[in-house]
């Protein structure tokens, strides 16, 4: 067999073994249909393999093994969780399972929120048109079998419909209590025309997790998404964010990641309506056995849209940072404004930054650019600060923080940005 056919066969065999070992969860007609469709996608695609171009810089094995690896719990040393100071609707998951006891009652004006476990048992639900739909669309041009696997097997998650302008954010909190848990969480979010929603996510989730969030932002609506993938050294996981941005709609998503053995954050955004806007940003600090991968795909499929990607990584002592980002501009998407920057600061010699920033452009009246840089702390900047009497450690900390600040600046509400910035500073100080 020639190499390409052999790889495909291997991937399909691996999928078959995995699918055989798991039973499809029982549920109502609408979700059963979505799960079956996802299963056939997985069998067709096969499981991700390190030899896939799309997994060039990240070995997916830890995410696709039939048994997840154990991960020791992280001692937060009494540190308060992120976002704790804000008034919010708390929705708590423990090891990927919804915990009503720790959560607020699921009631908030302008919001309809139902656990997936509950909705899946009914015959019909508004989420039926969305569940698995964006995930299925995201399978082209590259295959994302992990996300299909999630659609097929997830029983946990929230179905959230925002119809107004709720007074407080919805806060999804992911706690960990087990060293073994293998979590699959699937959220569906629909922000109706003119509505404004903010969803906060924080916590390590589980020893291994596979998360999908499908978001539909209707005409003129705004969706703010702020995610802090906590500090947790040994867990591994993949999070997928699939967003369809409608006419004149807005998306702003920010992710903070600190450590983790293997974290892959995928975002697939379609700017389907004219004048839409999508901003995706991320700040990452990694130390030691840390592998972090941001994979972003933005498709300009309508005219006059704007997109912006800002990714910053600070890495040291063996940490590996990956950025794969692509802007695809369809022929119809004239007057596109697309921008992408990915930068890494390598604090000592054995850190690595691997990037593949891509542009694919079929419209001529566009302004698209990307930049990518990697290097150590600029000795001139350091010298400038030291010459003004700032001790070296302090000066380095300042420079690292200001480097990350450009990504944090992408958060619209400065109160959240400040909360995350303080957290980052404390972590960096502690680690010296």
């Amino acid at each position: 067999m020639m190499p390409r056919a052999k790889l495909k066969a291997q991937k399909r065999d691996a999928a078959e073994v995995l699918l055989k070992s798991r039973a499809v969860p029982a549920g109502g007609a609408w979700i059963t249909k979505a799960r079956q469709a996802a299963l056939s996608r997985v069998s067709e695609m096969g499981l991700p393999n390190k030899r896939d171009e799309y997994w060039r810089y990240t070995d997916p094995r830890r995410l696709t093994d039939s048994e997840g690896q154990a991960a020791r719990l992280h001692d937060s040393q009494g540190e308060l969780p992120v976002f704790d100071r804000f008034d919010r609707l708390k929705v708590v998951f423990v090891d990927g399972v919804f915990d009503p006891a720790q959560s607020d009652p699921l009631a908030l004006e302008g919001v309809e929120i139902v656990p997936l476990a509950e909705a899946a048992q009914t015959d019909l639900h508004w989420a039926r048109d969305l569940y698995g739909t964006l995930e299925a669309r995201a399978q082209s041009p590259v295959e994302r079998a992990l996300a299909s696997l999630n659609t097929a097997y997830a029983t946990e998650g929230m179905l959230i419909r925002v119809t107004g302008k709720p007074t407080k954010p919805i806060s999804l909190i992911y706690q960990r209590s087990s060293e073994q848990a293998d979590a699959m969480v699937h959220h569906v979010v629909r922000v109706e025309a003119g509505a404004v929603a903010t969803i906060l996510e924080n916590g390590p989730m589980a020893a291994r997790f596979n998360q999908v969030m499908e978001v539909e932002i209707a005409e003129g609506a705004t969706f703010h998404h702020i995610r802090a993938q906590g500090r947790d050294h040994e867990r591994a996981g993949a999070a997928h964010l699939f967003v369809r941005v409608g006419v004149d709609a807005q998306l702003k998503s920010f992710t903070l990641t600190a450590n983790g053995a293997l974290i892959r954050n995928e975002a697939v955004i379609w700017l389907d309506g004219a004048d839409g806007s999508a901003h995706i940003a991320g700040a990452t600090v990694g130390d030691g056995a840390f592998h972090h991968d941001d994979t972003v795909f933005i498709n300009h499929a309508a005219p006059r849209c704007e997109s912006r990607q800002v990714f910053k990584k600070v890495l040291r002592s063996g940490a590996v940072g990956v950025f794969q980002g692509k802007i695809l501009v369809d022929q119809i998407a004239q007057l596109t404004d697309g921008y992408q920057i990915s930068q890494s600061l390598l604090l000592n010699e054995d850190a690595q930054f691997l990037a593949k920033p891509e542009l694919e452009i079929y419209a001529d009246d566009v302004k698209c650019s990307h930049g990518s840089t990697s290097g150590e702390i600029d000795p001139h900047q350091l010298f400038y600060l030291r010459a003004r009497g700032i001790p070296e450690d302090q000066a380095k900390l300042l420079l690292v923080l200001s480097f990350l600040a450009e990504a944090l600046d992408e958060i619209a509400d400065t109160a959240y940005a400040e909360d995350l910035r303080e957290r980052l500073e404390a972590w960096l100080r502690r680690r010296g």
């Binding site: 004239q334 390598l346 690595q352 930054f353 920033p357 990307h370 930049g371 990518s372 990697s374």
Partner: protein, 503 residues
Amino acid sequence: MAALDEMKMRDGVDRETVETVQSMAGTYKHGWETDIEMDFAPKGLNEDIVKLISSKNNEPEWLLEWRLQAYRRWLTMESPDWAMLDIAEIDYQEQYYYAKPKSMAEKPKSLDDVDPKLLETYEKLGIPLKEQMLLAGVEGAEEGRKVAVDAVFDSVSLGTTFQKELAAAGVIFCSISEAVEKHPELVKRYLGSVVPQNDNYFAALNSAVFSDGSFVYIPAGVRCPMELSTYFRINAENTGQFERTLIIAEKGSYVSYLEGCTAPKRDTSQLHAAVVEIVVLEDAEVKYSTVQNWFPGDENGKGGIYNFVTKRADCREDRAKVSWTQVETGSAITWKYPSCILRGDDTQGEFYSIAIANNWQQADTGTKMVHLGKNSRSRIVSKGISAGQAQNTYRGLVSMHPKATNSRNYTQCDSLLIGDKCGAHTVPYIEVRNASSRVEHEATTSKVDDDQLFYCRSRGMDEEEAVALVVNGFCKEVLQELPMEFAMEAQALVAISLEGSVG
């Protein structure tokens, strides 16, 4: 001009620019054919053909073995599918792998003995095979500059000019088949040492069936007294050209090498799979310039050359330097990534490229800079222009290995789109495995950079002048890297009056 009417005109892209771009494929200058009797090897590819090519070149046993090894590896390989190219399936059995003008059956002693028809071909192309001092297009240059030429016609080299003068300096410049006969030790030592037989699908094919190409050896400390040039011409129909070029620059030497190529207009596509290997030793420098003007196919995308080329330079020792400059205007499909292995400390690699794709042309081209040595430096400047229904992709790799500390890369890729049916794409790979190296990559796709315009305007230029200046600069960065003789040809070729047109 129907295609022109179809093309939606945008504000700021003036008609003249569009027309000039449109006209480029329509008026391919070198599309004529030389009517000459040819000697073909039988159609198709198998071990017997490989053996036949080897015996036609009077090759030693080891080289035949080397070819057969490559052929057997090729059979287990697949044509690469990762480039953004839509390639019609190639039937490798429908090609001729060896074609030689009949009159060349007896090897001519010098160029004076070569069939006048063949000499005419080159004269018509403007390639000076008589050791004349001046090149067309540079009349009035203060001093005549000499350029030695190796002319390759289908599968054979016709001859090389200025051999005597070069020999006096110790420089060897001849066809690779001649080098195999006269300098087997050099060929054996370096052939395949930069691009191994199984490097990729097309390199393996080339290793099995390569026919001719140029061989250059510059001894230690010698600055080559003139520019060296190879001119490739595909003439015969259904014939693939598989040339192999090997350049060796010994310690402290310098050479500037030029390469040009054309082919007749035909309805069917033709295959060109070349390999260029460059070995650069301590303190040596090689400058390699290409103007690639293979037949690009007609305005409906019929015919044209499939150009699958593996070019690589190995800066094997400290302070070696290599510079690639390419102007890619021809070929229906271009698949080409001239690369630099920066193995020694303080080595330098450069890549300057202009790629123009018009009508139905597809180009997927770029470079690889592999930094292995400390303090190595590389610079990439790529300009892509797409028009018609063409697809133009920059694909590149910058890799900083853990030991390549204090290294530096700067990459700039700019794309210009003319018309709304073409595409411009950028696919860079950036791999940084040590902290002290600095890597910067920038890519833009737009008409004219607003910041640059603003800069000009704020210094008192009116908009027209500012646009002219900025757009003029779009290609110049690369054009100025070409040796003068080539710059003239390239400028004429680019021939797109960008001035004042895009804004």
